[in-house]
């Protein structure tokens, strides 16, 4: 709880002040909401006519659901491909081979620093003009490819920092049982790093889902694109964009909450693992009092 670092438990005077401030702030916020509703009403944005299209099944069947499906499709494929990309280049950055290492670093750093939108626009026009993919598919391919290159690079960094965060003994044990560097990474280090980086990875999925809305700019018919089409058709752009935003917020909020839940789970599991390790160390210490150094250094 961050509040407790700055604030002591309040006494009677402070409690009264907090209550007053609480009521004043709540009233100010309610006042703000009332003002927003009033402005919306003044501009006729609360008229039933503006909202009625969302009660019609055609709106959902022809615009919103197909759009949502395309958003989810692009996001799901981009998640899978960026995991593969991240795995390959994350291993590359951890490799001992200088050439592989430097090349992977350049690729990862480059795609992390270039705006996703630039890549999307480039792939869209370039693929379309060069006839590399059918022009109808160009927006979709551009969205997935751009999301993959950027988010894959972020995943590569996550894998790298996850592996660096592991105790050195894990790799040493792998090498001691005769695994090569690559095998030790694949079978021992990366799987453990994956668990530790789970929350950050889920957070990255939210980024992918959000950034898939950039497809709107390059005419990919995802949720925002269809929402805008709907809004300009029915002269209710405000309502259409609001509905689209709410759908995004609900999905992303669910993913963010899942990430937080996983993060506390991982932390708890770690704490438990540390605790049992301590017990084990204590046990071996008791059994082998003559050699306490064996259990010592890796802690």
């Amino acid at each position: 709880m961050s509040g407790s670092v700055l604030f002591d438990a309040p006494g009677p005077k402070a409690r009264r002040r907090i209550t007053i401030l609480n009521i004043v702030a709540a009233l100010a916020f309610i006042g703000f909401l009332v003002w927003v509703v009033k402005v919306l009403g003044d501009y006729g944005q609360l008229d039933a006519a503006k909202w009625v299209s969302f009660t019609q099944s055609g709106t959902w069947a022809n615009y919103i659901l197909p759009g949502l499906l395309n958003t989810l499709k692009a996001a799901a494929i981009a998640i899978a491909t960026s995991m593969v990309f991240g795995f390959v280049f994350g291993m590359g950055r951890l490799a001992h081979n200088k050439v592989v290492n430097v090349l992977s670093s350049i690729v990862v750093e480059f795609f992390r620093s270039v705006p996703v939108l630039l890549m999307m626009i480039f792939f869209w026009i370039f693929f379309g003009r060069m006839g590399i993919v059918p022009s109808g598919d160009a927006p979709f391919v551009a969205v997935v490819l751009a999301l993959t290159l950027y988010n894959g690079s972020v995943v590569a960094e996550l894998i790298r920092s996850g592996v660096h965060g592991l105790p050195k003994g894990q790799r040493e044990a792998g090498i001691a049982i005769g695994l090569t560097r690559g095998q030790s990474l694949r079978f021992i280090e990366v799987p453990q790093a994956l668990v530790a980086m789970m929350p950050a990875l889920l957070g990255q999925f939210v980024v992918i889902l959000k950034d898939s809305a950039l497809g709107y700019i390059i005419n990919y018919n995802e949720l925002l694109f269809n929402g805008r089409l709907l809004g300009t058709g029915n002269a209710n752009v405000f309502q259409a964009l609001l509905v689209v935003a709410v759908i995004f917020i609900v999905i992303n909020f669910a993913l963010t909450s899942l990430a937080q839940w996983v993060s506390t789970r991982v932390a708890r599991r770690r704490a438990k693992a540390d605790a049992t390790e301590d017990e084990d160390a204590g046990d071996t210490g008791l059994m082998m009092p003559e050699a306490p150094g064996i259990t010592g250094p890796n802690k």
Partner: protein, 226 residues
């Protein structure tokens, strides 16, 4: 290569001026979003429940909304429906509305960056400050906030980098910035499309990588050893 050079002659000036627009968007949005984010962070760590609730709601809503929607909203709804006018000049109006959109979105991230800095300060620091007789303001000023600030440098740097790159999305808010120009250029000369993309990409790499190195360096240099 000649085609590329002639493209520079035609578009070189425009490339620099539109990239300058991106930098200006970043600059103003960074200042405004940092201020709003600090206010939100203070609300979220305050002992007043309603302020905490508003701060949390703001962050959860805007952190989970795609920036593209916010900037599209600016031009189609704020301007299109509510005729919001922040400047009499047409283009300046879109530019300012885009700054508002970028600010609203990134304030949620600045808030979380600052809050994560406060969270790095161990409770013992506050207890020690109280134990030596410091009251609330001196404790916050001398002991807690300096440590919180240092802990938030790295996350703030990440938000700043995101903001630099996200300034390209202002194209959805009808601002003439570099991603729109790049589209025109590649459409005009698809044969040198790769070079055009790499040129614009390098503009961003040149700005983003130093910011990243600088904030990493500063956060390490100023790190509180515990």
């Amino acid at each position: 290569m000649d085609a590329y050079l002639s493209l520079w002659e035609t578009y070189g000036g425009q490339m620099l001026s539109t990239f300058w627009t991106n930098m200006q968007l970043t600059f103003w949005a960074a200042i405004a979003a940092f201020a709003l984010g600090t206010l939100l962070a203070v609300m979220r760590i305050s002992p007043v429940p309603s302020l905490r609730w508003v701060g949390t709601a703001y962050v959860n809503i805007f952190r989970n909304t795609p920036l593209t929607i916010i900037l599209t909203f600016g031009v189609l709804v704020l301007f299109g429906v509510f005729q919001v006018s922040l400047a009499s000049d047409f283009n300046l109006n879109f530019f300012r509305i885009a700054i508002v959109g970028l600010t609203i979105y990134h304030a949620a991230f600045f808030c979380e960056a600052i809050r994560s800095g406060v969270n790095t300060v161990p409770l013992g620091q506050a207890e020690a400050a109280r134990a030596i007789g410091l009251s609330f303001l001196p404790a916050a000023k001398i002991v807690i906030l300096p440590q919180a600030f240092r802990g938030s440098i790295a996350p703030i740097g990440n938000v700043l980098i995101a903001l630099i790159k996200n300034s390209t999305v202002a194209t959805a808010g009808s601002v003439a910035e570099i991603s729109g120009l790049m589209k025109t250029m590649i459409e005009f000369r698809p044969d040198v499309g790769i070079l055009v993309f790499l040129t614009v990409a390098v503009f961003f790499v040149i700005v983003v990588i130093p910011v990243g190195l600088l904030t990493t360096w500063a956060s390490k240099k100023l790190a509180v050893s515990r």
